[in-house]
């Protein structure tokens, strides 16, 4: 090890322990304080360019165009805003359900197969993490267009052509693909931790396989499902790129609506109120699931998912 090359340095530099009475402020304390100062530049950057803008937006939401809670009242009184919020909640719920229905069997399959296959399945599910969001969204635009591959495939089996680009179905299909990893990873983490002998035990006690699954396996997988569903829900609520490009302006979701408030109506107060509401819902959901699933595994799963969240 490289350490040994430094043995020639005079030992006096660190001082022999116990020989001198410790000074009032020990060198160690000074060093610790010095290390803490290393965080200052990054904290300054985060405070100036993240915290301050966020607080400014919060301020704008209660002062612009006029002081008061009018912008927040509009969230529940303005028909357009209410429609958008409800549509966004509905879309997010639908994407969450689709992701869950796809991710659960997929994660279960991952927990069944042997090492090499598991690695392959994991790699495939991580592809959305590993590829550019813009490139993927563009690909969905190409796939979903009226004479695109999906429609031609539907046509061959006699189901098409269906209008997909600019529709809820198209947006769901594209969004669910982007969100799938956030569901698969926490669910898989939980499933992997479930002792398979428990299912054997249920069978030996007379439970039919369906019952063993519903009464034993499913309840034990709940922490992962809760973590995954929250992540997907939260990410879907604030999702901007895919709904903007694959969906239609007439069916806009919350993020698009916020963008319109800012870019076209220059209504920072209204946009701020919407953003604050979105943020509060996000924090409540994330916090709630953290409380609900206080197990190590799911915490880690949530953490991993959140860490990947910024890629979306």
């Amino acid at each position: 090890m490289a350490v040994t090359s430094d043995t020639s340095a005079p030992p006096a530099r660190t001082g022999a322990p116990g020989r001198v009475p410790p000074p009032r402020t020990s060198p160690r304390r000074v060093a610790v304080r010095g290390v803490a100062l290393l965080a200052v530049p990054a904290v300054v950057v985060l405070v100036v360019f993240f915290v301050v803008p966020a607080l400014r937006l919060l301020w704008l939401s209660v002062t612009s165009p006029e002081p008061g809670l009018g912008n927040y009242a509009a969230l529940v009184t303005d028909d357009v805003a209410v429609t958008v919020v409800l549509r966004t909640l509905g879309m997010a719920a639908m994407v969450t359900v689709v992701c869950l229905l796809v991710a659960y069997p997929y994660a279960y399959l991952m927990s069944l197969v042997s090492g090499r296959w598991r690695g392959l399945l994991l790699a495939v599910v991580l592809i959305p993490f590993w590829t550019s969001l813009m490139a993927r969204t563009f690909a969905w635009v190409v796939l979903l267009q009226d004479n695109g591959i999906v429609n031609r495939a539907l046509d061959t089996v006699g189901l098409g052509p269906v209008r997909l680009l600019g529709t809820t179905a198209g947006v769901t299909l594209a969004m669910a693909q982007v969100m799938l990893p956030f569901m698969v990873l926490p669910v898989y983490t939980t499933l992997r931790g479930i002792d398979r002998r428990l299912v054997d035990a249920a069978l030996s006690l007379g439970a039919r396989p369906v019952v063993a699954f519903l009464r034993v396996y499913l309840p034990l997988s709940f922490p992962g499902v809760a973590a995954g569903a929250t992540l997907v829900m939260v990410l879907s609520l604030g999702f901007y790129v895919t709904p903007s490009l694959v969906g239609s302006p007439q069916q806009s979701m919350l993020a698009q609506f916020i963008a319109v408030q800012v870019n076209q109506l220059v209504n920072f107060g209204g946009a701020g109120a919407l953003a604050v509401a979105l943020l509060v819902v996000t924090l409540v959901l994330v916090g709630g699931v953290q409380l609900l699933t206080r197990t190590k595994g799911s915490r880690r799963a949530t953490g991993a998912g959140v860490a990947g969240g910024a890629l979306v």
Binding site: A2, V3, S5, D6, T7, S8, R13, T14, A31, V35, A36, L38, A39, A42, V45, L46, V47, F49, F50, P53, A54, R56, V102, Y106, L109, V124, V125, I127, P128, F129, W130, T131, S132, L133, M134, A135, F138, A139, W140, V141, V142, L143, N147, I149, P209, G238, Y240, V241, A255, A259, V262, N263, F268, A271, G272, A275, T282, L283, A310, V312
Partner: protein
Amino acid sequence: MRSARTLRRGLAVFGVLVGLWLVVPTLIVVPISFSGEDSFAFPPSSWSLRHYTTFFTESSWLTSLLVSLQLALIVTVVATVLGTMAAFALARTSFVGKGTVDGLFLAPLIVPGIVVAVAMYAAFLGWGLVGTPVGFVAAHSVLALPFVTVNVTAALAGFDRTLERAAAGLGASSFTTFRSVTFPLIRPGILAGALFAFVTSFDEVVVSLFIQSPNLQTLPVRMFNSVTNEVDPTIAAASTVVLVISTALLGLASISRRNRRHA
């Protein structure tokens, strides 16, 4: 038991379908980028490199690629240096309110992108930072910092501090200890954080859309505008280039992470 086998087989088929759903939309842009036509038809009826020629010669595309690359490099340096320093401070000290600071470093990951974008846009308008290089570097650094701190903190957590004490006990100064012991051991974590920082900036769309100006656009913004405003098949070539760059870097990052685990 026969039903168990049927279930497995069904699951396997399902897994293949899901795999296709995940992979095909990602890779479909590659053949389209080599199309000889001015449409997104698939499969293309003729092949050519013309979209790549356009991409690398037309100034609006080439400029945005260069902007994105330069921006990502600067952000990588800023975020890696600041993030690594901060990770040290957070891993090695405890002080009143440390929990808040920890949360501050994770917040950009949790707060929805649109909220960050609107907040920054409103602030940057007032500060005259919209459409400026400084504005872009600041915004992307905020988004990239968490990835560096998360990776370096993880590397430090898996790091045996007795090694440092041993080095100090052998007479090394703190700087020598850092250079010869600490840094080599957490280097994979720093490298992974740097790569994530690069990709975060290089792929960022939402915030960039808000703080862009006609004179300063990143490549993903240029692509976004291309999809919304025009039918320009050059975007297929752009997508392929972006795909190759970000996938290669994230692959490197994950290899680097794995090395750290074995270190």
